[in-house]
């Protein structure tokens, strides 16, 4: 059993024993993972936030049923996946009218402040262009790439979390980067 599984198992045992405040450690540890999973798949930031919250609340409700010999992150992403499927089933037509990331980013943007205004503009523009291109990638390619970029996960860890073969993850990340590169080249040539 890995250290991570053991540590998470201990935390969960404490939460189940009544120390619910310790659940915040699990949320803090895995919120970015859930975010990186949802972000490329849901085009409304508020919905990403709602789904992320609901993922952790559902995990909390069903914590007693979690097998602590398994990886908590894999279980958590399975919950997120189920919530996403439910959401698509319920309101698949609703997304078209919703504010997309691009609109949100074009108006406000969650950008960290940089001292130099010109550098700030360049950074925002660069981010918008790259992020828009990532959103346009095929569904299967976005998530492994985002996990790699945002979470700094190894290919093995991504494969484990997404329950995919290692070679599939490698191929998807490679193809995603190739596509992004081709898009950039096309933009540059215009």
């Amino acid at each position: 059993m890995s250290d991570e599984i053991r540590q998470d198992g201990d935390l969960i045992a404490r939460v189940l024993a009544g120390d619910s405040n310790l659940f915040s450690v699990l949320v803090g540890k895995y919120e970015r993972l859930v975010f990186s999973y949802l972000l490329p798949q849901v085009r409304n930031l508020q919905e990403v936030e709602d789904l992320a919250q609901e993922t952790f609340l559902r995990a909390y409700r069903h914590l007693a049923g979690f097998d602590t010999s398994r990886k908590f992150s894999v279980w958590l992403l399975a919950i997120t996946r189920n919530l996403l499927v439910d959401r698509f089933r319920k309101n698949s037509q609703a997304t078209a009218g919703q504010e997309s990331y691009q609109e949100m980013l074009a108006t406000q943007g969650p950008f960290p402040q940089v001292g130099d205004p010109q550098r700030q503009v360049e950074m925002q523009e660069e981010f918008r262009r790259t992020f828009r291109n990532i959103l346009d990638l095929p569904e299967d390619y976005k998530v492994p790439l985002m996990m790699r970029i945002m979470q700094d996960l190894s290919y093995d860890e991504i494969a484990e979390n997404l329950e995919l073969p290692l070679q599939t993850v490698k191929n998807r990340i490679f193809k995603a980067r190739q596509m992004l590169r081709a898009k950039r080249k096309a933009e540059h040539d215009l």
């Binding site: 619910s20 919250q53 007693a64 790259t130 590169r181």
Partner: protein, 370 residues
Amino acid sequence: MTCNREETAYAFLDGELGPREAAEFAQHLAGCSECKILVHETQERERSLRAVLTHLASSCQIAGKVMRRLPAEKILPAPGSAHPEGGGGGALFGWRYLVPAGLTIVVLAWLLSLAPAPGPGPLVPLAVEGITLSALGPEARVDGTVIPADNTLTVLPGRLLQVTGPVAIRFAGVPEAGFTLHGEARFIPGPGTLQWQAGAATFGIAPRSPPVTITLNGHRLFIGEGTLSVGGSSAEGFRVLLKSGRAWLRGPQGASELVPGRPLTLSGTALPSAPPVVPPPIVPPPVVPPPAPPQTSIGPTIPPGGSTSPAAMVHPAGSQHRVATPAVRLATGTPTASPATASDQVDQHPPEVTGPSANPFGDDPVVISD
């Protein structure tokens, strides 16, 4: 792209190549401008993206929102477990068992009334417990409150702390406080880890103490033993200096061992154009590389004023502070450590780490440095 090593270039960037492959690709990189540009551009793009998305994720404050909603939630019984509120569905609570169960309770209550009052039950040690802080001097504080000299303070992990040293920190499951902090720092402690927020502090880990991981904006700093200074914040960037002992850094470009006496800079979210500089790794002996090639830089150099330096960070006299530059450098089998890097510091006190290699992250060393 005419060069057919694009896939290898990405694996190299991701730290997914073995030492031989990495060293071999690094040699190729020195002579292939296409690969150099590819590696540099990908690094820059993904680094900028990570900075903004990390900022976005933290600005949503998921943990706070979840924890505020938690009191209204209830943990459901595990499927298949005894179900006290199951409406009589569970066989254990069927009417057939009510009489014997009632009798058992009465007998137990009578037996307990005869027994002396029980003392506190034995504590079951678990890996996640409170983190204990002990003052090592009169100025030691936690969140502005002085820690009494002969007292300790226990805090739960997951909470942001403002700590002023000197203090000794003891993590759960560790018998002695072999980890000390001097200076001032804001961090979130977890099991065996500190999630650094801001400040300038020097950490010390006594030999044979369990290693500690400090997370810095997507980088993980693993201290095996010795003394190490950290300064800065997520927005400004970080400065790390291993004064003695052994430590490793894992970042977006891979993992590598720090060289004692050589400071390194990790750029913050405010400087997305400057990638972190990872010190050269120690490549295992079988690879005998050619002499170190000249540094191959591409892209602009960030001026020294581009990154901030915490006043309390101490750099050894004569050591030149390294400025983060978007430079890609070859892997070489020979570490470019300064002569001050004594071999006894590297080899004679290996930290207790597990895994296939001495690298605690279990990765092959990656070879991007200045």
